[in-house]
């Protein structure tokens, strides 16, 4: 008996033959057990490959991926502390400035303490900046109350400091996060 070419039997098993190619082979298969077995084997081989059991991922697989992705999408959501930090920093800066202002107003002799030089240093550093802020604000908000300028200056300076802090964190945090992010 003339058996079909083995490669043709495999092609038939894989479903790669068109009807005209397949027909004579199928006629042969009807009367040839051996070729039938070869085709059946090839089909089982493919089926077994397709039914390769899939590995089970560990339970933390999805959560770790989702955490990493949401961290990137919402950087602020990962740490709720920044607001507390900003508020604390703001209060601290405001308090310092109030002390400086009051110390200046009440006369140097009486209130001179160990901290005064430090305050003077700070005032000389940020004083011009604060003045600029205050004069800017004066032109924006025309106010008749000149005494209000001092308060406004402190307020604007605190706001400015908060902005700088916030900006720094925005810039630096992703890099710091990136260092210890490992799923």
């Amino acid at each position: 008996m003339m058996h079909p070419d083995r490669n043709m039997l495999r092609q038939l098993a894989d479903g790669n033959l068109d009807a005209t190619e397949a027909h004579p082979i199928e006629v042969h298969l009807a009367s040839c057990t051996q070729c039938r077995m070869i085709v059946a084997f090839e089909r089982d081989l493919v089926r077994a490959l397709r039914e390769t059991p899939l590995p089970q991922a560990s339970p933390d697989f999805d959560p770790a991926v989702l955490r990493a992705v949401s961290r990137r999408n919402h950087p602020a959501a990962t740490s709720r502390l920044p607001w507390v930090k900003y508020a604390a920093a703001g209060i601290l800066i405001s308090a310092t400035l109030i002390v400086i202002t009051l110390a200046g107003a009440s006369g140097e002799e009486q209130s001179r303490s160990m901290l005064t030089p430090v305050f003077e240093q700070i005032t000389s550093l940020i004083g011009p900046l604060a003045n600029t802020f205050a004069s800017q604000a004066d032109s924006i908000i025309p106010t008749s109350c000149t005494q209000g300028n001092e308060v406004l200056r402190i307020f604007l300076l605190a706001m400015g400091a908060l902005l700088v802090l916030g900006g720094l964190e925005r810039l630096l945090l992703p890099h710091l996060k990136g260092l210890n992010h490992r799923p």
């Binding site: 077995m37 077994a48 490959l49 390769t52 590995p55 991926v65 949401s70």
Partner: protein, 187 residues
């Protein structure tokens, strides 16, 4: 009806986050099976698979839908696994190692062999295949990728993909047939 991958991606790009979980659920095991075939080491394979998902999700906006999402994802997973393998200098499984499996040897040659037995043999054969062949076999039969898609995923020329898959199947067949001499051709 099941939501298509592209619909899910559109939803994610519009700000929805539920889609990530669906895509993970859909492809987690398949991506892991690919990285596992390539890397061999379980923990590393899992880390590589997670990395691949994270990279893919972050780059979702860049997915142009010219290919199937699965092909795009497997390509990222493939490249991630390649990087892991290079980093860890994984030693590939020796192919010519003498295979001495008592279980397999005990199976009597039986013309009416049970499919379950054959399935076990095929899995063993797959484990003995060199990783670059086993990877292609996984992509073709398990991940249901075409020759063209596999060429895209691996960056291999189409001819190489076809050739390797042909050889891989020959090796698998030869391995399994060792235990079933009755199926060896007599013509």
């Amino acid at each position: 009806m099941e939501q298509s991958d592209n619909d899910i991606i559109q939803e994610i790009l519009r700000g929805g986050h539920h889609g990530y979980a669906i895509l993970l659920q859909r492809y987690r095991a398949r991506v892991l099976s690919l990285t596992l075939r390539m890397i061999g080491h379980r923990a590393d394979a899992e880390e590589a698979a997670q990395d691949a998902f994270i990279r893919a999700f972050r780059a979702l906006r860049g997915f142009e839908q010219r290919a199937r999402f699965s092909t795009w994802l497997y390509r990222i997973a493939y490249n991630t696994a390649v990087t892991y393998r290079q980093r860890q200098r994984m030693v590939t499984l020796p192919l010519d190692e003498e295979h001495d499996d008592t279980d397999a040897a005990r199976i009597p040659p039986d013309r009416n062999l049970e499919y379950e037995e054959l399935r076990k043999q095929v899995q063993k054969a797959l484990d003995h295949l060199r990783p670059e062949y086993a990877t292609l076999v996984t992509l073709f039969y398990l991940q249901d990728q075409s020759y063209d898609e596999i060429a895209t995923i691996t960056g291999l020329p189409l001819g190489t993909v076809k050739n390797r898959l042909h050889r891989a199947r020959m090796e698998l067949r030869a391995y399994v047939l060792k235990n079933y001499p009755s199926l060896e051709p007599t013509h």
